[in-house]
């Protein structure tokens, strides 16, 4: 009895165990063969970290073309939401990707200073870059201050987007000085058209205009001097926001006085839709809004001009940032393959196709003409190198810049806002000098 009872149970159980084993083996082998480099001895797998979600389709195409030409390299394209956090997580785990695209922001500068990226000094690719682009990247930060840690692939531009139909109906010209801009605003106000569509409910939407005005109106080397002051920044220091940013802040408030009613409570999405529907003549943003606006109204005729901050048309500078930069992980074991891939990414055909699709500007010195008519007015600024970087990339991310500027535009208290910026700068400088000792 004792021996006969277990048998009927053991039968199905053993069969089930066998089945499980088969399934597990099948799943495991499938997973493994999916992950591992496909067994061919000569194939190198490159881990390619790509930050820009909007450009995923473009990069899929580029990677496929590259792999077709280079059968010995397998590029694993990774695009993640919240790339800044994802990249930091990879770095903490010591898994620096082989090839990366990064946004040319203050965040990039921090990582470059920490020595995370390859040094491109002496690479022939450097010669092909627009020197102004290299300057922008260099200003963000580099390892020990003298390396070239990334190369530009696409540049954006921070300019006033305007509705060509409204300008034509009102007989308005594109302004090239601050006074002309105000004259345009007054003319629009008289015609009952809001000059700008303000979207202050989203704090960051005030920053494009702040960057452009501040970047043109601040003294030369302002941020270098400010960093030198460090923990002494305040009302009595040689340079400070309180002393040197009053004109930019006043002009910013003036621009918002021409915004539509209720600009305090509208958000970025509202703004794109409203501007696309012709509810204002201009929009204080940059070229990144062009695609969303065209999505809302494909028939709108758009133009973009740089923020004219001063009195002389020749002084106008276009604020531009490196939207997509390409770099290599410093200690990658596949440096030669990574360099071949980067060389392909930065070849003129690839860059031209990419910036056309993304509505951006090429970072190459001899870039092909950008066929997009919306951007036509900005091209000369790139060709002449009349571009400056985003000043907010010089400000540590731990300073609440966006909320402070937003609050100033809401309550109009400029002295408090500038004193607040000075104070935050001072505190962060004290914390970081303390930590460097």
């Amino acid at each position: 009895m004792h021996h006969s009872i277990p048998r009927p149970h053991a039968g199905p159980r053993r069969r089930r165990r066998l089945l499980t084993a088969i399934v597990v083996t099948a799943v495991a082998s499938a997973t493994l063969s999916g992950c591992a480099p496909s067994g061919d001895a000569g194939v190198t797998t490159l881990d390619f970290f790509q930050f820009k979600g909007e450009a995923t389709a473009d990069f899929q195409r580029i990677v496929a073309d590259f792999e077709a030409e280079n059968p010995d390299i397998d590029v694993q394209l990774n695009t993640v939401p919240d790339p800044d956090t994802a990249l930091r997580t990879l770095l903490v785990k010591g898994k620096t990707p082989d090839v990366l695209t990064v946004n040319g922001s203050g965040n990039y500068g921090q990582l470059a200073r920490a020595g995370v990226f390859h040094d491109f000094t002496g690479d022939p690719l450097v010669e092909q870059q627009n020197p102004a682009v290299l300057d922008i990247l260099d200003a963000l930060g580099s390892f020990e201050g003298d390396e070239i840690n990334a190369l530009g692939m696409a540049n954006n531009a921070d300019g006033i987007v305007y509705n060509k139909q409204i300008f034509e109906e009102q007989g308005l010209e594109v302004p090239t000085t601050w006074d002309e801009l105000i004259a345009v605003c007054d003319a629009l106000e008289d015609a009952g058209i809001p000059a700008f569509y303000g979207t202050l409910a989203d704090a960051w939407t005030a920053i494009p205009a702040w960057n452009a005005l501040g970047g043109q109106l601040q003294p030369d080397d302002f941020y270098d001097d400010l960093r030198a002051e460090g923990g002494d920044v305040g009302p009595d220091s040689a340079v400070s926001f309180s002393a040197d940013y009053t004109e930019a802040m006043e002009k910013l408030q003036t621009l918002y006085s021409y915004a539509q009613d209720g600009y305090r409570s509208r958000g970025y999405e509202d703004g794109n839709a409203a501007f696309a529907n012709g509810e204002s003549a201009m929009y204080l943003q940059g070229i990144w809004t062009i695609n969303p606006i065209l999505a809302a109204n494909p028939d709108i005729e758009l133009g973009v001009f740089p923020y004219p901050a001063g009195e002389d048309p020749d002084d106008v500078r276009l604020t531009s940032g490196v939207d997509v930069a390409v770099t290599i992980g410093r200690d990658t074991p596949h440096l030669a393959e990574a360099q071949r891939f980067v060389e392909y990414l930065l070849s003129p055909e690839v860059v031209d196709g990419f910036v056309e699709s993304q509505v951006m500007f090429s970072t190459l010195a001899d870039a092909g003409p950008n066929p997009n008519p919306v951007l036509a007015e900005l091209v000369p600024y790139f060709d002449d190198g009349r571009i400056i970087g985003f000043i907010d990339h010089q400000i540590p991310a731990s300073i609440p810049l966006q909320p402070i500027v937003q609050q100033y535009l809401l309550d109009g208290n400029m002295d408090a806002a500038l004193a607040n910026l000075d104070n935050e700068w001072r505190k962060v400088a004290l914390r970081s000098t303390r930590t460097e000792e």
């Binding site: 409570s265 540590p396 991310a397 731990s398 937003q406």
Partner: protein, 317 residues
Amino acid sequence: MTTTAPPSRVRPLPDADTPPGGSGGGTSRRRVIGRTPRAFYWMVVPALVLFAALHTVPALIGIFYSFTNYAGYGTWDIIGIGNYVALFQDDRVLRAYGFTFGVAIVATILVNVFSLLLALFLNAKIKFQSAFRGIFFIPYVLSILVVGYVFQYIFANSLPQIFSGIPLFRDNILANPDWAWLAIVTLTVWQGVAFSTILYIAGLQTIPQELYEASSIDGASTVRQFWAITFPLIGAFFTINMVLSMKNYLQVFDQIIPLTNGGPGTSTESITLLIFRGGFQGGEYAYQTTNAVVYLVVIILVSLVQFRILQRREVDF
């Protein structure tokens, strides 16, 4: 005894393998009678291990990092109490404390008032009692982030049209630095009432009906009954609700992200939001970890003080 005999005859077989246990029946009786059965201790072990691994160890690591200059990646050095010195001189941190405590106190009071009223209503003899209980519990089940975006739409788009005569609502309360906190409290209370109500209903059901019958024979009014019987007898539930609410609302975060994201300006920046922004987005990981450590101590102190004060006025029967 006859019923226990067959199992004890089966058990000795596996037991015989365990070395010092002695003969089966005697051991198991000693295990049960002498002290708490050993099995109960073993049942606690998985929870203990998980708690230590996922909570205590990270907390200790966090405390350690608060004495360093770690940015979240790269190299770091131990810098002593520098972060703590900087923290107590940081006016942005103090402002965040002011905002957080204001919201937490107002929300705690409102949540407990509303949930107690709701619990009395849901505990009364009403039609569709369990249906109502279910409906009023729904806010607690919903994701606060999702609800937050719905509220954001209501505050930014619906209320300005409905109350176009009242400036506060017409101009989008979320864009008003002085009153945006009210919107955050509204969402917090709307969501928080559900859970407190459940606890109060449980408390109300522990009160014996005879007390009400006796007091109504003595001619006590409903209001008198509430203050003399109901409220004292749910004292323990009142305490736990106050402490839990306060502790939860001191960590207000999810509500702020969809509604104001800390704005306008920094007027709705809570401590937890500041820790997240500065630590994860601002690259000051160690500094904001210090903030978190100090805040942990503050929350523990607040909870202990609440317990001491509130437990003193609880009654036991």
